[in-house]
Point group: D2
Chain length 221, copies 4
């Protein structure tokens, strides 16, 4: 009896393992924090459990603080391709814009496009499903008066157009955050709605990102 059940278990495990989809979240400090207890990746896991789909997925965070698109390109062999994922969510762009201001080392718009396309191509060439996410916010004012709104809008529009051209799923966090803030930030505050510091996610921010991500992951065929 005992042996039998173990055997069944092994069969089930083997079955489970072969059908579990490996999902890698590929990004910057926001994604690095995503694996923490209240982080968005943890929350995606909880949503999968809630929806009784936890056995179908393995969620892996691959975020490094300060990363820009070309950092992803440089480290994608080691940190992504080597793990043979089924799905990769590319969630990048905040530092490409922000570091223009804070460090003088942001990413030119045309270079951003080049490297972004190179990252997408390397992934899709391997048959990996790719989901793209727009950078959410650097400052939560809703009247486009955050210092870097201009570039965030422009780089996000580029990501949307890459998703469209390449027929990839899009998680439009920039739009989702603006929609949320327009409804929930009547005082036009710079932070504290979905972020702690204009950029990094608070509890509500992590929930919003997780829920948008989870929708896209479930959708990925």
């Amino acid at each position: 009896m005992k042996f039998l059940s173990l055997a069944v278990l092994f069969v089930l495990m083997a079955f489970t393992q072969t059908t579990r989809k490996k999902v890698i979240f590929f990004g910057d400090s926001i994604t690095q924090a995503g694996v923490q207890p209240t982080g968005y990746i943890t929350k995606v896991g909880e949503m999968a459990t809630r929806d009784k789909l936890a056995d179908g997925y393995e969620f892996i965070g691959a975020g490094i603080g300060g990363n820009k698109i070309y950092d992803l390109y440089l480290r994608m062999d080691d940190d992504v391709l080597a793990k043979s994922p089924d799905i990769v969510i590319v969630y990048i762009g905040v530092n490409d814009v922000w570091h223009k201001r804070s460090l003088g080392t942001g990413t030119d718009y045309d270079k951003f496009e080049k490297f972004y396309n190179a990252v997408v191509k390397k992934l899709t060439d391997k048959g990996i499903k790719v989901i793209l996410a727009t950078p959410a916010v650097i400052g939560e004012r809703t009247d486009y008066s955050n210092e870097l709104d201009g570039d965030l809008n422009r780089y996000s529009a580029l990501i949307r157009s890459i998703a469209e051209k390449s027929k990839l799923q899009l998680v439009d966090l920039r739009k989702a955050f603006l929609d949320y803030s327009k409804a929930n930030n009547p005082e036009n505050k710079e932070q504290g709605i979905l972020t702690t510091d204009r950029v990094h996610l608070n509890e509500k921010g992590n929930e919003l990102v997780a829920s948008e991500m989870w929708k896209a992951i479930r959708n990925a065929k």
Copy 2:
């Protein structure tokens, strides 16, 4: 006969001089170019003539390329107060925002407010009528994807609020330009609608600025 007419002329001139309102346009390179044959200040003069009000005004350009709010503060004794104007239009802010990006020498938001208020106070303390103008554009895309739209919106909102608090007339060029571009820039171009180079005015731009300015000047009691 000859003497008589000359005498009449002198009387008329004296009369004219005492009633002519001296209007100084105080600003940056946009205003420096305003006195050229097709510049906005020249056009304001033409509008005054068209409206048969040319005798009531003297229009003086006091724009210097690259100026920011604190440059206006430093040179206002020599370039404005020494000329005893009746009306001063403060048209500044583009370089305060732009030079953050291009030269690293823009103006902090809080310092902009301080110097702006100091300029306004010095003028109103002398009984001069002050008209404020918002900086129009750095890039003419209409979806808030010009790199510096965030700061331009923020600094413009500040000028609007100073105008409101101080009960000063406002020439809201930023709003006027956006309204115009939304109707006339369907391809979302960065320049060529009202500017030649994202910032400096083309013929249509000079017309729009002149017409908004002239409305405010006529209104100034």
Copy 3:
């Protein structure tokens, strides 16, 4: 007996008051911290006491964090001239250079010169003795490989030339710091020699500044 001693005291006080030189240190956060227990202004006071000259001076800190040359210009009426000082030490320039990088709001070289000369003129016009100080360091590496060394050298050279042309005393902190670091920073560290954080003074830094300042103050006739 009691009345007599009180009378003597009043006479002494009156005498002291009329001969005490009022010295204002006019600057940024480094000077703001200068009045703290181990700050450089406090140490100048201790040096005066040590040299039995404390009765001859009153030392006043007028430093505000983040200040650049044009902030000094804007607030000099209230914070300096209103106090009728005998000696003013202008110690500014770090933020004019640094904020180019960190905030995009540094000061153009030509504007720095203009405002610097305007500050000096306003002070000397009142008969105040003016002492100029060069900005010491942003980073303590000794091989000119600190990111902002180029501008610090250039703005310091300008201050030196203003001092020479205007025959004003110079406290050349930039030179003093480099000389000290060349002798005491064999590992070419970026901080920790005379600063805590590349910019703000540690104990040794405060001592060096105080000693250079005190030399100049004693020299001021």
Copy 4:
């Protein structure tokens, strides 16, 4: 007779082709201009001819304006490796530093190191001889008062240390330019000594670069 000499020629050509060393100059706009009639690569060719070594080398320019180290990394497969060179001269760094100031899109020091090492590794892994060059100048003043001297010194020191660790030949243009300017720029001019515009080479600049490069190429065993 005619057939015989042609046959000899073919043999000689075949022989020449197999022994010619293919040298690729891999860089930015300075290298892009290097293939022009008076450019430094053209001059290297002339020096090879002068030294009767022209048959031993093929010189190829692979410079693209605005390139930074990560652009080289992105395009090295197509523009360098695909051509199977014997020697590659990596001459990059000016834009990595300069664009911090002019565009906000320079390269972080640690990322510069990472990508630089990645470029070198990819080349040496293929058995290609690699020669490294330091970025010469952004401004020719000799007292370290050019705005970007700090970073240029730092990034150049890094390249020197990579050359040393990896036992690669170094063409230390930064040192060569400074040495030349100290001897030939008594008025401490910002440009016009070896550059036309603080960065791009004039005739003398092209000669100096060519002569330093040619020395290193001849040396490469």
